[in-house]
């Protein structure tokens, strides 16, 4: 049984930081009455936390930075102009907060935590092997920060291409193109090493 792969659940990809219903209205309400910020917070706290966890690699720092992000957002809300990209604005704050955090190496989960027993008899175990994970870990560790950030926003925060584009101030097509090339590169490299 593939224990390790089976724990790969939808949590990383399931985050849905797409807009809330009536998000513009909620933002306007929160801009006039800060106490109305709660629905926005509840909707975005998990993806923001997961993104920051992927940056820091530990819950304590992720909590601190999450708190800082939302406090800054709450403070900055009166000055925010809604153009349909509230998530991008929030993640811009989160990224800046993460950048302020003392400069550590881009953090992936320690390899030891990722490598868990595998059993090739189960279909899920065919998806990813410890060996592949180790190779991928090494490959991603060698990417430049911009590429890692792209993967982080996609796979940790679960942002849509449009949201990543707005966060990184790129065109959506450019984000797709970069991710396309990056995944192809990783795929080739993995193939070459196997």
């Amino acid at each position: 049984m593939d224990i390790g792969a089976s724990i790969i659940d939808t949590r990383a990809a399931q985050v849905q930081p797409s807009s809330l219903p009536n998000e513009a209205q909620l933002i306007q309400a929160a801009q006039r009455e800060a106490s109305a910020f709660t629905p926005l917070y509840r909707h975005y706290v998990t993806p923001v936390y997961r993104y920051l966890y992927s940056r820091t690699g530990n819950a304590a720092d992720a909590e601190d930075l999450t708190a800082q992000t939302f406090l800054e957002a709450l403070q900055g809300l009166p000055r925010y102009r809604h153009r349909g990209q509230f998530a991008a604005w929030l993640f811009t704050i989160a990224r800046r907060r993460a950048a302020d955090h003392y400069r550590r190496q881009p953090i992936l989960l320690p390899l030891d935590e990722l490598l868990t027993p595998a059993d090739d008899d189960e279909p899920l175990s065919q998806v990813v092997h410890a060996e592949t994970l180790a190779q991928l870990h090494a490959l991603v560790s060698g990417l430049d920060e911009g590429e890692v950030e792209l993967l982080r926003l996609r796979y940790a925060a679960g942002l849509t291409f449009a949201q990543i584009a707005a966060t990184l101030r790129l065109r959506e097509g450019a984000v797709k193109m970069r991710l396309h090339r990056l995944l192809a590169r990783l795929q080739d490299a993995l193939g070459g090493e196997r």
Binding site: P21, L115, L136
Partner: protein, 767 residues
């Protein structure tokens, strides 16, 4: 725009990336805590002040503490916890605000050093010159307000810091971690290791962080003198940790133990470890989402520490070291999780401590797959009956159906979801499942996301998969892969230990019944029915005296409408004001609605005065009304209001519900009723309607725990009007599809806010 999809990657690439970047959901207690903090900040409507959320030094220490914890953990794994800790204890110091730190071969600051210039005080609170780095912890206060000093956001990143050594050379390139309040900043600087034999250095700061050039004193120089952290120095400077005896409990083959404890004047910190045998389980969190609380033998219950910087949480999982060949052999008993958890500071009289842990949540693998046949022409709204049994570590679940749903969120393109109804059958041993996780990506190419299981009602779960955007609905059989479940394992575990060195007789709590502590205002007499004094808390229980028939005290509210901050306060005759101690009393884990808890009375205080600006009362009165949920096309009416005319007269309150709409909250269809604007709150104001029962069109009682009523600012519109709102679940017995027809709502009265203030004064007993 050319549509360029993400390439068809090999399965292991995308799944591997998902794995590499996987992150847990935030701890529910943290989410709640932050929400409360945000609400407080929102209510204050003021710039952010210093808070643990903003300026917590723990982040500055996290890496060091984590590294130590890892070393300790690995050592523990090899030779066992007790023996290692006995050795570590000699080297371990609890550094307030940091956690447990190995101080071997470390030079430390023996007392804070501060410099004041131009009204700004820069204080170096600690320096740890360790073999691998030099850590400087600082804080500054008296700064101009944030708006004044902050001009450029990049300012915070341009901090220029150096350590000048006696020979004139400098250590530069500090990594920094900084936080700010309104008029404070704090943080840490990490430099390269201080050369051996160097005990003096000068901290040079070109300017403080978050301070724009020219707005506060600059070019700071702070001389620092260090001492080697010998056993005596450590003992004198830092609270000494101890290893509690037999603080361990095993339930259901899961062992919890307290490895080490330290008490400081500001906090109690303990290192808590969980150990389990099944290598396939991953630790989730303690309890089912509530804060852990520590209790003592006197009746105190300790929550998180009040001093923000002392809220230390360092946690990590301990994996299995990988053998050289890359394979891993499951080894029962090696799976551990540890956390440094801090609590409010201990009562000096406490001699025995107990940490109850009600439940632990693990992620457990559920590697299985099944098919949903969507047929040749699937339609949004279509339902697909299923009967898929699942076994999640012994807890039976059953997927009973799936539905295709479309969600439109704001201006975003609509999303299509395949939503599953899941029934959790109770396990005989009390274990349950609170979430189910799908595997998405290349295994299920039609989907690119999912929602983790949401438990909207007991024994019911909701989980969904999102179809990729811009793609047609898949047809025919669709294979779904499950990955894991969030398993809640109930305990309770109870970890109990004696506090060493507590030989003096405990200070017994004193209970007063001050007859003089009452006052009448707005027709209500509020009385301090009981006052309990301990060496840690002052507990005031309030009651209404001679209340009119059918009127009860609902809660003591320290807020007035449109007020920016809570305004209850306790003061003694010497002018000392008392604040929240972070400690509750006796058995209550939640603040009682009629009880206020403050810090311990000062020894020289002779009397105390409690100021209560407002209370909330419950008034009994019966009323009822009917409201119709439209039938045809109801599903298309989400968030589309329609006019209703429902007058309600209850407990002398007259209001009229004039608008209704259907909405979906957390997957539950609900109807919202909104009243016409109410009068602006003055001396008495409506705060809610008390729901007694709601009967649905089939005559079934609606679950009132899913219903809600309140009166307050209208969050559903941009108007600042004050309205009453009732939210009624309309999802029928399965809480799913809208059940149209007539709903009957019975009220048992109202809750009203009543403006005071009441000022209650009582004498304290002599020494």
């Amino acid at each position: 725009m050319t549509h360029l999809p993400v390439p068809e990657t090999r399965p292991d690439v995308e799944v591997g990336l998902t794995r590499l970047f996987s992150a847990p959901a935030p701890d529910a207690a943290f989410v709640d805590r932050l929400e409360r903090e945000l609400r407080t900040r929102a209510a204050e409507q003021r710039p952010v002040r210093r808070s643990w959320l903003v300026a917590s030094p723990r982040q500055q220490w996290a890496v060091g503490a984590l590294a130590l914890a890892l070393v300790l953990a690995l050592a523990l794994a090899i030779v066992g916890p007790r023996r290692v800790l006995a050795q570590f204890q000699q080297l371990l110091g609890y550094v307030p605000g940091v956690g447990f730190v190995d101080l071997e071969a470390t030079r430390v600051l023996t007392a804070p050093v501060q410099v004041t210039r131009g009204g700004v005080t820069l204080r170096i609170t600690q320096v740890l010159a360790k073999p691998d780095e030099t850590l400087v912890v600082f804080e500054a206060e008296g700064l101009p307000a944030y708006e004044v000093r902050q001009v450029n956001e990049s300012t915070e990143q341009d901090l220029t810091a150096a350590l000048r050594l006696p020979g004139g050379s400098t250590l530069t390139g500090a990594r920094q971690s900084v936080g700010r309040g309104n008029d404070t900043v704090s943080g840490s600087l990490r430099f390269a290791p201080l050369p051996t034999g160097v005990f003096q250095a000068t901290l040079l700061l070109a300017r403080l962080p978050y301070v724009e050039h020219g707005t506060a004193p600059e070019d700071w120089e702070v001389p620092l003198t260090l001492r080697l952290a010998t056993g005596e120095v450590v003992a004198a400077l830092f609270p000494q940790p101890y290893v509690p005896v037999e603080a361990e409990d095993t339930q259901r083959d899961i062992t919890l133990r307290v490895l080490v404890v330290a008490h400081s004047p500001e906090a109690t910190v303990l290192k808590l470890q969980a150990e389990w045998a099944d290598p396939t389980w991953r630790f989730g969190f303690f309890t089912a989402g509530q804060d852990l609380r520590l209790s003592d033998d006197l009746g105190h219950s300790y929550g998180p520490p009040v001093a923000p910087s002392h809220n230390v949480v360092v946690q990590h999982a301990i994996g299995i070291p990988s053998p050289p060949d890359g394979t891993v052999t499951p080894a029962p008993g090696l799976y551990r999780y540890e956390i440094d958890q801090s609590f409010a500071s201990l009562s000096p009289s406490a001699t025995r401590l107990t940490l109850p842990v009600e439940a632990i949540t693990f992620d457990v693998p559920v590697p299985m797959e099944f098919e949903v046949d969507l047929g040749p022409q699937p339609q949004v709204g279509q339902a697909f009956p299923l009967d898929i049994p699942i076994n999640a570590a012994g807890v039976p679940l059953r997927i009973t159906g799936a539905r295709l749903e479309r969600e439109q969120r704001g201006a975003e393109p609509p999303e299509t979801w395949l939503r599953f109804d899941i029934v959790v059958e109770p396990a005989p041993d009390g274990r349950s499942v609170r979430g189910l996780h799908f595997l998405v990506g290349t295994s299920t190419p039609a989907f690119d996301g999912g929602s983790t299981g949401y438990q909207f009602a007991p024994e019911r779960l909701d989980a969904a998969l999102r179809l990729k955007a811009d793609q047609p609905l898949p047809t025919g059989p669709v294979r779904i892969y499950l990955a894991a479940a969030s398993l809640v394992v109930p305990g309770p575990w109870e970890l109990t230990w004696d506090v060493p060195g507590r030989t003096a007789p405990p200070s017994a709590p004193v209970t007063l019944s001050p007859s003089e502590a009452s006052q009448t205002h707005s027709g209500l007499t509020l009385r301090a029915e009981g006052v309990t004094l301990t060496d840690r808390v002052t507990v005031v229980e309030l009651a209404l005296e001679d209340a009119p028939a059918g009127t009860q005290l609902h809660q003591v509210t320290c807020w007035l409408p449109q007020q920016n901050s809570p305004d209850c306060w306790l003061e003694d005759n010497r002018g000392n004001r008392y604040s929240d101690p972070g400690v509750s009393w006796q058995t209550s884990t939640q603040p009682l609605t009629d009880t206020l808890v403050y810090g311990a009375a000062q020894p020289l205080a002779q009397s105390m005065t409690l100021h209560v600006p407002a209370v909330e009362i419950a008034v009994d009165s019966a009323a009822n009304f009917d409201v119709d949920v439209p039938g045809e096309g109801a599903a298309g009416m989400l968030d589309q209001p329609w006019a209703v005319d429902i007058p309600v007269d209850v407990a002398r309150q007259s209001l009229r519900f004039s608008q209704a709409w259907l909405t979906e909250m957390n997957g539950l269809p609900q109807m919202v009723l909104r009243s016409d604007p109410l009068e602006t709150p003055s001396d008495r104001w409506l705060t809610g309607l008390r729901l007694a029962a709601i009967t649905d069109p089939e005559g079934e009682l609606v679950d009132l725990t899913l219903a809600h009523s309140s009166a307050g600012p209208d969050f559903f519109s941009l108007e600042r009007s004050y309205v009453a709102v009732i939210i009624i679940p309309v999802g029928g017995h399965d809480n799913r599809s809208i059940r149209p027809g007539r709903y009957h709502v019975e009220l048992s009265g109202v809750t009203l806010g009543v403006r005071g203030p009441w000022t209650l004064r009582w004498e304290l007993p002599g020494p």
